[in-house]
Symmetry: C2
């Protein structure tokens, strides 16, 4: 299942033969969106074909191409325009808008290399180091923060991309210890299919699941939608092998240790800047025998958030706890109702909810349990008591099922929106429970203000919505989506100004600059505030020691 890059969009999300299904409601959806963002006429500006765009000329001479081919093999070294364009960038809004408006990429890899094992990775890293190339590890390429941008430092000869997706084997399973060791280029669906076949799951299902890899999840310190049960990458990572420019690093893999600082936490979040993660041992769970996802409605965000907090602080073993704010709840409700007739039942429920105080600032929660049936049932009983306390209105399994089935689909919506001149971007952060409300307000307001100040034309309207996407005993993450009409003259600049303003707001209001997307290039500026000068110096010292020439993914994470 290591996707041939030719079946995947080089300039957008996913497979060419898949997209967002509007179920025949196209007219209703587009006219509502046009109205909502104050854009009377949506543009018709389909993204560029690969053949349309201008690529910088490869810096590699024939001798170098020959050397690379001799290190690997003829067909493991790609220099054709499609491969170079595909590997030039990630999947951030900034990546897409640049392609669409500029019809060119400023940087593209000079070659794309497909090593098939760790030894080949070692030779590629050594080659890059000895020949002064930047080397960018690339898995699914789904970074939304510029994490795989094909950039090099001044003085470097050019950029090589190391595509990991041919390294996709299961190495071993330890059934007693409930761990598995994989090569890290394996995609989500393949990894889970292998595990399911043996009765296990890793349980890591980010929105990018279908098009991201194990190595990327670890490098970006990612989070799946069921992370309440299965943990973020740093939690399920048991051990790793990393090819650094100063040698192969096999980390500790003990269940716990007091032998000094835990260096696995340097690998999780290393973003390819220290080396290429070639193998990872991960913690398994038994494939769930049971799952149950339900919806709840709250009178306001505060009562919903209080329920999330209780669930976590009382140790209820949920898998997914997700709470949309009022704006997101309204958006989702309206969107899913567009072009459909409401039945009598639905109208009555709506009236009842309105009359009972759920109409003013409704907030939707998706709450999911999975695993052993007895444990999940007990968790549901605990939840029932908590939901009474917070006056949650149960919407039942239909709402849960709907969310569950659509959970990987949203990224497919971004391309058709952008093609019509409508920007959608997301950002995510996390903070303590006591600061959550403040952060939610501050970031929403910064976004609204920035979109207003940078609007493309008179009448253009921005939309902000948010949800708690992942929750912990001591706090939670907030995931913001914002939508606005693209400035046809300068989409990238408009985006950057908005991003700058909102990142300042996140940082100044006690949020982390990223809960699960990573740092990449886009969040670099805010890292020092978060780590402290001393902390950042520690990180720089590690980078300098492990990658003295700055070969690995320059310009990301730490410079």
């Amino acid at each position: 299942m290591n996707f041939d890059r030719k079946i995947l969009r080089w300039n957008g999300w996913g497979r060419y033969d898949e997209g967002f299904d509007l179920e025949g409601r196209d007219d209703a959806v587009w006219s509502w969106i046009s109205e909502t963002v104050g854009m009377p006429t949506l543009v018709e500006n389909l993204g560029p074909k690969a053949v349309d765009i201008e690529l910088p000329i490869s810096q590699l001479n024939e001798k170098q191409v020959g050397e690379l081919k001799s290190l690997l093999s003829e067909e493991q070294v790609k220099i054709d325009p499609y491969e170079r364009a595909f590997h030039a960038k990630g999947q951030s809004f900034h990546d897409l808008i640049r392609l669409r408006q500029e019809k060119k990429v400023e940087m593209a890899p000079d070659a794309v290399l497909y090593p098939e094992n760790e030894e080949q990775v070692l030779s590629v890293v050594t080659y890059a180091k000895l020949n002064n190339f930047a080397l960018i590890p690339f898995g699914g390429g789904s970074s939304v923060v510029g994490g795989v941008e094909a950039a090099c430092k001044e003085g470097q000869r050019g950029v090589l991309v190391l595509d990991t997706t041919r390294m996709n084997r299961l190495i071993s399973i330890d059934a007693q210890s409930m761990t598995a060791t994989f090569e890290t280029g394996i995609y989500g669906p393949e990894l889970e299919a292998i595990l399911k076949d043996k009765g296990y799951t890793l349980g890591h299902y980010p929105q990018s699941f279908e098009f991201s890899t194990l190595g990327g999840w670890i490098a970006a310190r990612g989070a799946g939608q069921q992370s309440t049960k299965y943990g973020k990458a740093e939690k399920w990572l048991v051990g790793a092998r990393v090819v650094t420019p100063t040698g192969l690093w096999q980390t500790e893999d003990f269940p716990a240790s007091a032998a000094g600082p835990d260096l696995r936490h340097l690998v999780a979040g290393s973003e390819g800047a220290l080396g290429v993660i070639t193998q990872a041992t991960v913690r398994l769970h038994k494939a769930p025998e049971f799952d149950d996802y339900r919806g709840y409605l709250f009178k306001d965000f505060e009562s919903g958030a209080a329920m999330v907090r209780d669930i976590l602080q009382q140790g209820v073993q949920a898998a997914t706890v997700r709470l949309s704010d009022t704006d997101e709840t309204r958006f989702l409700t309206t969107f899913s109702g567009l072009g459909k007739k409401k039945g009598l039942g639905e109208r009555l429920i709506k009236r009842w909810l309105g009359a009972n105080g759920y109409g003013t600032s409704p907030c939707l929660m998706i709450l999911g349990f999975e695993g052993d049936m007895g444990v999940a049932r007990f968790a549901e009983r605990q939840t029932h008591a908590i939901s009474k306390k917070h006056k949650a209105f149960p919407l039942g399994r239909a709402a849960g099922k709907k969310w569950y089935e659509g959970r990987f689909k949203m990224p497919y919506m971004r391309d058709p929106l952008l093609d019509r001149g409508v920007a959608v971007d997301t950002l995510e952060t996390a903070t303590s429970w006591s600061n959550l409300s403040n952060l939610h307000t501050a970031v929403s307001s910064a976004l609204n203000q920035a979109m207003e100040q940078n609007k493309a034309f008179e009448g253009a309207k921005g939309i902000v919505m948010a949800h708690i996407s992942h929750a912990y005993e001591t706090g939670a993450s907030l995931y913001f989506t914002y939508v606005y009409p693209v400035d046809p003259a300068n989409g990238p600049g408009q985006w950057r100004t908005i991003k700058q303003a909102v990142s300042n707001a996140v940082s100044q209001n006690g949020g982390t600059i990223s809960h699960h997307h990573g740092v990449g290039t886009d969040h670099l500026e805010w890292l020092e505030k978060e780590k402290g000068e001393v902390g950042l110096n520690a990180l720089k010292a590690i980078k300098k020691k492990l990658d003295p020439n700055g070969v690995m993914n320059p310009g990301k994470l730490v410079v």
Copy 2:
């Protein structure tokens, strides 16, 4: 409750007015021990008084003492022999045997400093750096791995000890986020008393609880006996402030983040080698409304270990899961029966157990639940099913209560044993479930062999016993206790040879060199195997960057 050092033993465990209570069974106990270790006559060799020992002369001149007093205050700078002797070493067996046999300490701090706030810590660190002194952070001083040894590097002028125990204030509690921020010199009982008063607990109860501090727990990456519920230090640490020689470091304190590597994991386990941890934010739980500790007996170690594994892998919310191997079970059973008459009931039970297969290689489990009653009750129900599967014989609450009540007392037994010429030392490690049995056998056998090869006299016998002390989904720790007659001619050398052999066995058989004691000086030799050369280089690079002059706790963790 920051103990006046004068009420605490400078050359042994705990308070002068406390000790191990043999409940009038002294003769029975000592004669059994004498027989067990093959030592017909126990020696009578009480530890040295402070006045007996020889201290190196302080390297500080009057000017320097004056400077230190001006930085702090007259009475915050101690140069009297008791304070210097108290702060010369930790509480390892090696520390104690050296004192007893050599009646001297080779190294002692030239002064002991008691800063009362972070600013004073900053000035002390700066003073040490500018004046080329080694600086040793010292909390409870309960390190059993040489972690607070008053040593300096060649070329340094001398050693200053920074005693943190006057920094023992609660800074703040965040009730919503369930976190508290403390100064780190606070002792266990005081911290828990403050929290209990407000309805909370941290739940960190190591065996050293009464005489160790928050900062020490973090620096050594410690584990409490209820860590299955409350987590090891690295798990409950939310954020920290560290005074390094290159400035104050305030770490991130988010519930989760993808902003690069998690640098809190450099602080947990830093062992004073990067700086002085001055404040820590920790995760709280509600003070438990319920607790229940019980004993179970297994036919062998394998079935007991399988139950521990099931408890963890099925996500049962236990607090303590502890399984003694057969040797430890026999030792504990015999020890507690010494000098007591067995009642009829006890004899009948013993006969029944023997007849039903529990007599050949019995293993004792202590299983504890605490917290919310409903949750704990559900966990007990889950456990019941698991215990049937593994044929666990329930011993009821009496066994649990007995363990619970004695859980901080064992260290008090070491001094009277040593006074009589009997060595007791412990070591602990952790590994995956699939390797646990191998590691248990290999380490036990290495210990037995090393004690035999280094026996003090013909007929001297060593004892080895072990238990699973902490358990995880993917593996568990093993805690070994070993007892042998001290070589009267060379106790330290004998100990070192045994330690070397057993540490090699741990390292070669897939165990971590420490699960919760730390590295200190005693485990340094085995660190590179564990972290890898590249990993150790990363650690060295951090040390070099944050402490370029090597001021902080030289010779521990990373050199």
